[in-house]
Symmetry: C2
Amino acid sequence: MKSVSERWSRVFITSVSPCVQEGDWPIKRIVGESVNATAGIIVDGHDRLCARLHVTRLGGATEEIPMTQGHNDEYTGTFIAEAPGLYTYHVRAWVDRYGSWQEQYKRRVDGGVPETELKVELLEGAALLKEYAVNAHRDAREQLLAFADEYAAGSVRAPLAQEPLRLALENDPQRGSVKSTVITVDVDRELAGFAAWYEFFPRSSASVPGIHGTLDDASARLEGIRDMGFDIVYLPPIHPIGTTFRKGKDNNPEAQPGEPGSPWAIGSPDGGHTSVHKDLGGLPAFDRFVKAANKLNLEVALDIAFQCSPDHPWVKEHPEWFKKRADGSIRYAENPPKKYQDVFPLDFECVEWRTLWEALKDIFEFWIKRGVRIFRVDNPHTKPLAFWIWCLARLRNKYPDLIFLAEAFTRPKTMYTLAKLGFNNSYTYFTWRHTKEELTTYLQELTTTNVVEYFRPNFWPNTPDILHEYLASGGRPAHIIRFVLAATLSPVYGVYGPPYEHLVANQHPDREEYADNEKYEIRTWNWNDLDSLQTIFRRVNRIRKDNAALQQMRNLRFLDIQNPLMLAYYKSAGPNAIVCVVSLDPFQAQEGVVRLPLEDLGLPAAAPFQMLDLLGGERYIWQGNHHHIRIEPHVMPVRIFQILRRVRTEADFDYFV
Amino acid sequence: MKSVSERWSRVFITSVSPCVQEGDWPIKRIVGESVNATAGIIVDGHDRLCARLHVTRLGGATEEIPMTQGHNDEYTGTFIAEAPGLYTYHVRAWVDRYGSWQEQYKRRVDGGVPETELKVELLEGAALLKEYAVNAHRDAREQLLAFADEYAAGSVRAPLAQEPLRLALENDPQRGSVKSTVITVDVDRELAGFAAWYEFFPRSSASVPGIHGTLDDASARLEGIRDMGFDIVYLPPIHPIGTTFRKGKDNNPEAQPGEPGSPWAIGSPDGGHTSVHKDLGGLPAFDRFVKAANKLNLEVALDIAFQCSPDHPWVKEHPEWFKKRADGSIRYAENPPKKYQDVFPLDFECVEWRTLWEALKDIFEFWIKRGVRIFRVDNPHTKPLAFWIWCLARLRNKYPDLIFLAEAFTRPKTMYTLAKLGFNNSYTYFTWRHTKEELTTYLQELTTTNVVEYFRPNFWPNTPDILHEYLASGGRPAHIIRFVLAATLSPVYGVYGPPYEHLVANQHPDREEYADNEKYEIRTWNWNDLDSLQTIFRRVNRIRKDNAALQQMRNLRFLDIQNPLMLAYYKSAGPNAIVCVVSLDPFQAQEGVVRLPLEDLGLPAAAPFQMLDLLGGERYIWQGNHHHIRIEPHVMPVRIFQILRRVRTEADFDYFV
């Protein structure tokens, strides 16, 4: 409890929003997005309040924005986050003594109170203005005193003017005296809020089967990826791979000669986290890759996995950064009695933790200097949260355009906390949410609770680690369904592309992941296959770019459709509105009646409107709330409608007038 | 945002509940009620956590309660508030390093890891125990070191015992290292949580019409009030009444000679807030009244209205406590252009505010010393909130059994803030909530949101200031409906008794209040009238006392009943369960089908059960979820059922076995 002295003010700010844990953590915004700040503010009795929103760009100026009183003593003010980096905002309020006096004075005048009584009140107004003048700047002081004199002289109409009110407001010595919690706003660039990610293994990008692809081979694939409409190419680790306890095909504990190993077993005598595998072409090939990507307006995201193979140079150079067993050997990763001897975890709590933490931060800086601004962080939840607070704050402070994606498939509170402490994007449970109930419940949590203020989902239908049963068994329709759900439910999404687009979905018999997994072997893909889903990728990404409604998360609204195997929802942004109807059944035809909330969508109740299916191109003419939709999954399991409000009638033509 | 250094711990407490504004204000409990504390706690990786609830009675000892892990990383612990006054609680957590080691060790043993490897791990366990021993008390230290030696000697079964785990837990040097916000618990005595209030004007308690009743006349009414089952008698102000600008009958601005004036125009040459009106018999009669009440196990609540008539002694003795107009006259109350010249407000912000605040606090202390422990505070929202924080904390610290009822019929945020800052009971909007929608929405807000942690409603169907249209037009059924709603929806309720029980409900033509209002004149009432609602009062108060379910607020659950003019709800407490079905229509018969959630009520789905109507005495035999109820308001507009679970069947008799 605060002490009485801290509270001895007549004004109480009872709440401020948006905020996360009363300001303990920042809220997140994308450049150009607004913050609609609301504060509950009360005062005893009936005096008028003034409230201002104070917005500061870190290291910049403070702006004061007047707040307006709404229903139930809620005051609101809005500002726009214009540049990446940190802003803070807080609310200040005070009793508007002069304004309260003036209001009562006006009511006296309007109520016909005699002049003799008004003159007594005028003296009080004059006294207030004189008090306000004491610390005012010279010009204002003179004006305030002039008004005070006029009041004292008995000029009963003088306080009805606006000017003394304005002057008083700006010079009230109690102005801004009550201050709310300060709330930080972490502002990201656009790509953190609207982006399509494409993941592929560069070593699988050669044209000749069985040959280890290089980053130059991968560069040759970029144009195709760009043409499919993706914004970010994300590469699994590209570093030298250890040989000690190297894993073979399908995670076989013993690799056969010639097997390439897992890219997550980082480090060999050739180097560690700041080296590039020599079969990929080394650093020069990487630099060419980044350049080629940027030329195509693509950005490169790297996978940062803080773990070492037993052959990582740090094992010899910095044994102090690893945990030892009592016999002096380095402790490998394990989940007793299982052992993962190809990986040494780092000991974030070792005696030399400061040098380790700096070295890890330096890894990011190394790649930042080579043009990388986006990082997918592997398993951040197995490293101390305090490390991420420290590391991300320092890096983002220097490079406000960085984007960190947390690959934390773990418990809800940990995932949410990683987002609070600075990760800009997060992997989600979307990958495992397939039924209407699952999808609706989870999306409501992500879009309608306070989670939306700090957790920015990045929806993935698949990853090299996860191939869900639904994709494994549902064929082409299932792949389209899950891709469209990811790309339309969430403005940020990604796909582990090559196997997905070719509908390669053989599950490993023991695990929920791909068989013949690229994590352990080199594959070859057809990079220009019109029969693959590449066409769908291209069309859906085009639709996303053309429709502002699909570029936000908060605007998702589910629609009633009386079929548990169909999901319907809409998103709107200004005049743009998109309605998606998705069959969740990849096998059988499904039909249902969807209910459109005409008023919310700005649609006429009494006239027809057009629904343009952006995938198929059909233009439906609809009228009213309820519409029957039948979906045949083998034709196209989803509809993405754009609402075109206008349908011309005879009244629109000249001759009708 | 907290600095990194404050956060450098692997453990994060993400939330603690119950709390009000993250611990800024206390939560409230009644003596004997429990606090079920929950904390969200996470750690990176897979280590085990320990969490303890630390509970301190202010000025007393601290108790440590182990918390148990539930779903979604929520840890819970419970304590009971045993005495009135302040408690605090907070959560402490830490990584259980030994426990984590031991768990992994067990999995190694179970997984058949060879002894040689186990022995390496044992050395690590030994090292941990040695570290724990450093600051342990002597006995524990010796035991820890003995176990460490045993481990070091290679005794592979030793860590499977419970004792080293227990010792380690109690002696972990990191024990309790992460600490949550401290939350205060304000504990009230029973009467703040379960009580029936009866308000009457003592001057109307004489037997002879037109005669000013005394507090001795009022004493004679106490037995009747006690017999009706009330716990608290609440008297409007009993002080000398001013004559300057005295109000006449029905708020007439000019009193006729002999009119008694409003008890809220406090103060005359006879005295102020610490005097008793001489026509009431002065202080000696008051002392006799308190004594008589207490003898009957009734408590007296006084009305404290911090305002003065122009004749109040303070006007001459302490002119510095009043606001002056510019012409030197004291500012009377006004709502321009309306004037209330019979009342001078006090200036809480005057230069001498400290002496004024002390004097106001002394008023409470004066009556406390005369045996009063319950105060109904008039219009607290027109006095600075800071005054109440200061005043209530000081008084409650000295007298933890005080109960303050806030008479603030004002805006929601202000009402809630007054409750947060210390008022134990609050007037509510119940007085204006009459439709099913209004009642349901409001009660959901009071019982299912965080409001329940600090705002303790006191439901009043009427007051001397408020006679709602519903009562004015609905006759006897309306009076029964509103009384039973107040008494069964809320464990604390009150009634302005005399006009209510006699169904006197003439509205003033211009205002939503009683005509011929007792505020301005003396009335005479029949204090023993079997045809009045006194019988209903008695029966309902008896039902409340006999049924624990009606003595709580949080346990309210609304029931589905397919009629917008009928309201159904239940409350249960342990084996006691009450179902109320109320017709909101005071004129016509209504019928509906109520749906009972059998499982929640612990009722058999496949067997009959009894429903005893506690008002009428009928015993219904019901079976299943749905039950048709018809209510004829002129017979009895409400049903208060007690559920009697047991209905004997032939299987219960000996011969059946």
